[in-house]
Symmetry: C2
Subunit: 584 residues, 2 copies
Amino acid sequence: MLRTHTCGVLNLSHLHEKVKLSGWIQRSRDLGGMTFIDLRDRYGITQLVFNMEVNAELCEKARKMGREWVIQIEGMVTERSSKNKNIPSGDIEIVVDVINVLNKAKTPPFTIEDHTDGGEELRMKYRYLDLRRNPVKNNLIFRHKLSIEIRNYLNDIDFLEIETPFLIKSTPEGARDFIVPSRMNPGQFYALPQSPQTFKQLLMVSGMDRYFQIVRCFRDEDLRADRQPEFTQIDCEMAFVDQKEILDTFEGLIKHLFKKVKNIEFDSIPQMTYADAMRLYGNDKPDLRFGMTFVDVTNIVKGKDFKIFDDAEAILGINAKNCASYTRKQIDALTDFVKRPQVGASGMVYIRYNEDGTLKSSVDKFYTEEDLKNIAMAMEANPGDLMLLLSGKLEKTQKALSELRLEMGNQLELRNPSEFAPLWVIDFPLLEWDEETHRFYAKHHPFTAPKPEDVELMSSNPAAVRANAYDLVINGSEIGGGSIRIFEKEMQNQNFKLLGFSAEEAQAQFGFLLNAFEYGAPPHAGIAFGFDRLCAVMSGVESIRDFIAFPKNNNGRDVMIDAPSEVADNQLDELFIKLNEIPQ
Amino acid sequence: MLRTHTCGVLNLSHLHEKVKLSGWIQRSRDLGGMTFIDLRDRYGITQLVFNMEVNAELCEKARKMGREWVIQIEGMVTERSSKNKNIPSGDIEIVVDVINVLNKAKTPPFTIEDHTDGGEELRMKYRYLDLRRNPVKNNLIFRHKLSIEIRNYLNDIDFLEIETPFLIKSTPEGARDFIVPSRMNPGQFYALPQSPQTFKQLLMVSGMDRYFQIVRCFRDEDLRADRQPEFTQIDCEMAFVDQKEILDTFEGLIKHLFKKVKNIEFDSIPQMTYADAMRLYGNDKPDLRFGMTFVDVTNIVKGKDFKIFDDAEAILGINAKNCASYTRKQIDALTDFVKRPQVGASGMVYIRYNEDGTLKSSVDKFYTEEDLKNIAMAMEANPGDLMLLLSGKLEKTQKALSELRLEMGNQLELRNPSEFAPLWVIDFPLLEWDEETHRFYAKHHPFTAPKPEDVELMSSNPAAVRANAYDLVINGSEIGGGSIRIFEKEMQNQNFKLLGFSAEEAQAQFGFLLNAFEYGAPPHAGIAFGFDRLCAVMSGVESIRDFIAFPKNNNGRDVMIDAPSEVADNQLDELFIKLNEIPQ
């Protein structure tokens, strides 16, 4: 037996017990006649003590061992003279009798400490060392706990976890697939699933009723900073439910998770239509931890010969409470911020409502004090406030002002990482027009049902059709999304047609689903949550990477194992493929 | 709301309640003035009743609806006059007021009954209909329950479920990889994992201590009847444990599962060395539900001028108790059985120990009654028994006699599907010599540690080295296997050398693991269970296919979605690959 206890459990209740511990040397200190070693494992740290006077040979041996060596010791639990109140085992130490080196260690390339000196690249290469650090280790433990709670909650309400295949069929709709050449079916390829969407719908047709799966999904997209080619989804589907029932069910899940894992309780999660979210926050995933909602001042500010406003489709503003004291320099910085290409505004107008009741703006030339007061009234601004206005095309202005609002939220520290503001955004548009390809795309996916009252619009004004689709948003991050599904072949065909599929294309790609709809498909609906993202958001962290044990970098590489890599020619031959010339 | 209850819950306690139900029409019967419909969902069946006299219009409507239509009804729970004691809802029926057709259904291509008229191919194509049948549905529910119990058991003893990547690196060792071309890294490929072996070992190096994962794995092998290209593994690893501790831990898991899911309790699971398993059963996964162990009669039967035995390396026999009454025809059939190419024996010798104490054999020409009595004594045969002997090369004879033993077990109904005989097989050989490629292969995998007492043999007699490797066998099926791992770089290099890897090859393929071993790797060990197989064996079923929601056929095809399939040329272009000429 290599240990009787872990390094996290011993305390005064174990006094005078003989114990065996195994673990890593976190640090050691020589204090003249005494040597102290902090022994670490997943569960904590226990202090070992060696005394030159009692056992010089053992103490010398201990002094020669370096950081991250793996050792096993035997010794007796004793009370510490100077206690460490920061750790559970801080009241005791082990007076060591026997020490065995289980494995030596080279000095690690970065320090195994909460705040390490290692850079991102180095930590990725030695990920197995990075995982020894508390912050990363605790993320994975958090993720594990969350997965256990998710499964038990859903199991308790009759959901079945059913595994769907990973080797499926490539479809041109949606993001780019990873494909897998088939050796047994020469010239043919599997695709890795972007989600188990069609399979979970088939499970509803099969009567499985309440399905879930925590499942890996794959998308071969150019990676932004916080995307991974493989990611994990909490994938769910229910039959015989309406929208209220499915939202209630998963609101229950989210509340359960926050209660169990973070001890935070929510009232019911508010709902907001997509239209309102865009109108008030310029964003379909608004951060509700703070207000600063948009005010449309288009009708108030036009007609004063300020050409920029007169020419604009929309003039929208936010009221930054108590920011009248912003300096010229701060305001200039905000102007620079909105002019960044990622934000895309051409300029910003400010109106400062001074404490003394006077008003000062960047457009004083065009607007009288009276005019400014009217704007202030519309924006519910009071003395001491600062109004920020952007103008232009509606959508572009919404997007830019949303960025500005979030930036102001950051500056004013209104986005508290330990506060959580969940929100259902509902009634998304069914379709999205793409100027480039000149066609409609499904806003959610092609299986989403239109709102019954909007079905007529599908022929007359498709862009106006709203879907029974919903997103769960927390603190400005989209955590999950889903929809009521189409479950009738004719409606599904009508939708495919709007998306530019010919009947033949629809049949070739989704024939199995369309056929299934003819054999007794029940009404059904579903939702999927991004599990990596959920872990990060619940931890108040922006990046998902440190919630993934072995993530890939922005080139889709695992730099630790050095994948992807070249393969042997005979592997390619067996698969009936060869390489094209590779651009240098 | 589409339903107030499911079709499995209503009983006499709900009498006179108004309810809404939704489900599929299992069957309907017209009995003159009355129409009965069995409404089915995942949870059960509830009888609906319609009365021509009470509501002719509704009754007519009901009569027009076909099998598998999806309907919603409202009605009142009433007591049945003729009760059905076979189903929980058999005491009541629903007198229906309102009926809504939610979706019509074409007549399914096979009956949705426990014993269907549909053939394998048809059921695979319409898998979503096959999943409606109780036997298949119940398998998936069983699988779900098992997965929940596995996770909770392991979570309770501090195991963490940690997800490892699916897009990893191809290694030539072991089975054939599925590979995935990388668009962002032209000319390079990911591989899908055959198991998370190296990642779980890295997690041990990272200090994660107790890891598990229920995870999909992939092998591009020619598929035998009961293999799938993707399969699910319960993958586990522990640090700081010896063999006893890891076997105890997972023995606990298996006992927990049988207790929780099947209400079967085991004593501790017996252990048998690989050497004994081969000697007594000719098989490293013996079915212990019955005895009929091998007896080596080589020394007894030689030297009587029976050339076949005199020339044989080994002569092994089994004693089929109480089978002396086997007819000549039955014995001939057994001889034909062992001569089948899959079994591979060249003939069979029988010795019948008649009830009257006389002996009759197929080799009476060479053996006296006295000789035969000596053989009988060695084989612990009594009057009424039948001895069956095979001879030849030792390994071939063991294999053939093992097949014969299992066949006799089947014929004598000694392999009861509701009885379970688990067994640990331990002390496997480290290496396996391959005559064809003239090299050693790892019997388990290249990371398995030799038994400490056999390390010296690694240079002198590698074939004799035993490994600290173990399999869990139930009823003749290998359910899981694992080993104590090598955790020191030098030992790992020595093992790679035995396997014919040059230092460069080892570094190129497994450098990340060898490097990790230099940074403080703890002693560790692991095991992996085949989850599909575990489900099947615990259900007393041979085939894994019906425990997988959407399995593939023997050509690796999903005939329902028709995958794999051809992909667009531009997809291949983006991946810098093209097709070779496909053989017709």
